[in-house]
């Protein structure tokens, strides 16, 4: 397909242009299908109540009603939801980054008998359906009075998560081992090697992990659903769906969509500013599995 190699026969060139055209047609049609729901979410959030309820649908609202966002925000305690989401996200991100890079480092760079078996165990727990531990964990946390606190969501983060450990391990494996060895000969301790050599070289991987954890935590629905039963404890993920349980808001799609857009903006921004880390992280765990 390189331009320089193209044969001169006209028939082949026309056919090639045709197939190029077909490729672009499929890609453009496909990306339109992906985009239309986004567009619809956004424009719905700016419509008046009458426009939302009209059928056939209004594709472009007459005026952009930004006030929907303000009214939506005060219809439910969204400031509290946002604060809870931030507390949960930061509260899980910091311990997870620490614990996962530490453990990932141990698996990637330190030699020990039985390490391979332990690594297999790590991979196995990655595949373990969480439902198997969910009920005893809930009962355990309930017995020590942690239900309706953030503790059941945050404390486990100090012990790492297999997926992120695996991701960090995969990255640490790509750093030449000679660096550790020469540092060891110079008398550096394992902790020094980790903090002074490996971590500074791993900024892209650490950034990728932070992005992943942010996306996961912002999105997390199941664990708050189980452990948080008071509205004032809800993160955005639970708060937003409350629109569905109040009759007066059930058909106020302009508010529901405004809320959905608002909740989507932070991950969207993070995604745009960190795209290369993000893609890197996905391929790192996806390809070398």
């Amino acid at each position: 397909m390189r331009p320089g190699k193209e044969p001169k026969a006209v028939g082949i060139r026309t056919r090639r242009n045709l197939s190029r055209g077909l490729i672009y047609a499929i890609l453009i049609l496909g990306s339109l299908v992906m985009l239309v729901p986004f567009y619809w979410m956004f424009v719905s959030s700016l419509m008046t109540e009458a426009e939302v309820l009209s059928y056939p649908p209004v594709w472009i609202p007459k005026t952009w009603r930004w006030k929907n966002y303000l009214e939506m925000w005060h219809a439910l305690p969204f400031t509290t939801f946002l604060r809870n989401t931030i507390v949960l996200t930061v509260g899980r991100m910091i311990p997870l980054v620490l614990s996962c890079s530490l453990v990932g480092f141990a698996f990637a760079r330190l030699r020990a008998r039985g390490k391979d078996a332990l690594f297999l165990l790590l991979l196995a727990t990655m595949m373990l359906p969480s439902q198997v531990t969910m009920i005893p964990l809930y009962i355990g946390f309930a017995k020590i009075g942690w239900v309706n606190t953030f503790k059941p969501l945050i404390v486990p983060a100090f012990f790492g998560m297999p997926f992120y450990i695996f991701m960090m391990r995969q990255f640490f494996m790509t750093i030449p081992i000679e660096l550790d060895e020469s540092a060891r000969i110079d008398g550096a301790s394992t902790l020094t090697i980790f903090v002074r050599i490996i971590l500074p070289l791993s900024k892209p991987a650490l950034a990728a992990m932070c992005v992943f954890i942010f996306m996961w935590s912002w999105n997390d629905f199941f664990s708050p659903l189980i452990y948080l039963h008071k509205t004032e404890m809800y993160p955005l993920a639970l708060g937003l769906q409350l629109f569905r349980s109040y009759g007066e808001y059930l058909t106020r799609w302009e508010y529901i969509m405004a809320g959905s857009v608002a909740m989507t903006v932070p991950p969207l921004l993070v995604f745009f500013f960190s795209q290369r880390y993000f893609v890197r992280g996905i391929t790192l765990t996806g390809l070398k599995g």
């Binding site: 490729i23 992906m34 986004f38 727990t125 595949m127 486990p156 769906q241």
Partner: protein, 300 residues
């Protein structure tokens, strides 16, 4: 590769390994192995948390298999969902990533556009699709343009599950596409050149070069897809709550209800172990089958 070292150093490294990995193995004992053992024990009891548990032996399991039509229904719903959605998603995302790999202009833009829906939080996505699938929503408008009458996408027993599949396909398509694309970019150009010299057309190049070379990626996506999809919960919980007539009662949704709504902790634990067994067997089957269709380069 490495030179021999005095054993004191080796021992110290070993000690450091167990020290540095301690968050993980402590967590493993506290939050995985301990609860797993507890879960097995609980699955042999009848327990509502409030009163004392009652030992019932295998009765939870027997009831599941013999007397609970909802168990079978939820299993069927989940299996249909998984084994339609995952292959569909693999084929479509492979197709798009192969097209994107043809040196198209605007590769970065297209990749971003296709990836965008995965960035949307599940809750936002579910609410958006509730709105799209509404009887007066845009999906009905769009199919109306093709002369198809209005459908009740989420309240019609035949359409509810496919509608949720549609939403999930839209929402998760990007992840496997990005992984495929990275895999495709790793296929050496020399293989395609060699195939071209041998006169291979595009289909032959796809079938005998691309497909074998990225089969490990297909395998990874398939395995992860099946494991993840079998545990689907949020979509069913938010979009339809298992309705209509339990046609979207996913297994984990039923498990959640048994445990946290009906407070049948023993029953829910038994369900969790059945799920574990199913996923375990599926994983084994997929791993075993891989030698038949996954191509690894010899020096891997």
């Amino acid at each position: 590769m490495r030179s021999k070292r005095p054993s004191a150093l080796v021992l110290r490294e070993e000690k450091d390994f167990f020290l540095f990995s301690s968050p993980w193995w402590l967590g493993l004992v506290l939050f995985v192995i301990g609860p797993m053992i507890a879960s097995i024990v609980i699955s042999f009891t009848q327990w509502d948390i409030i009163t004392a548990p009652k030992w019932v032996g295998l009765r939870n399991y027997i009831r599941l298999f013999r007397d609970d039509p909802l168990f079978w229904k939820s299993l069927r719903v989940t299996a249909v969902y998984t084994f339609v959605l995952v292959p569909l998603q693999l084929v479509l995302s492979l197709l798009v990533s192969v097209l994107l790999n043809q040196r198209v202009r605007g590769l970065g833009l297209f990749r971003t556009l296709f990836y965008l829906p995965t960035v949307l939080p599940v809750v936002a996505s579910a609410l958006l699709w509730l709105w799209i699938l509404n009887p007066e929503g845009i999906l009905n408008f769009v199919v109306g343009l093709f002369g198809i009458p209005r459908q009740n996408w989420l309240t019609d027993e035949r359409l509810a599950l496919p509608s949720i599949m549609l939403m999930s396909l839209w929402g998760t398509f990007g992840t496997s596409m990005v992984i495929f694309l990275a895999g495709l970019q790793g296929v050496p150009e020399s293989l395609y050149d060699a195939a071209r010299i041998d006169g291979a057309n595009w289909w032959a190049r796809f079938r005998y070069v691309t497909l074998p070379m990225i089969s490990p990626v297909v395998f990874f996506n398939f395995l992860m897809g099946v494991i993840g999809t079998f545990q689907v919960f949020t979509q069913g919980y938010l979009l339809t709550d298992g309705r209509p007539n339990n046609s979207t009662l996913f297994y984990v949704l039923y498990l959640y209800r048994s445990g946290f709504e009906y407070l049948k902790m023993g029953y829910a634990s038994a369900m969790a172990w059945v799920l574990f067994a199913i996923i375990f067997v599926l994983t084994l089957l997929i791993l075993r089958s891989s030698s038949l269709w996954v191509y690894y380069e010899v020096n891997r």
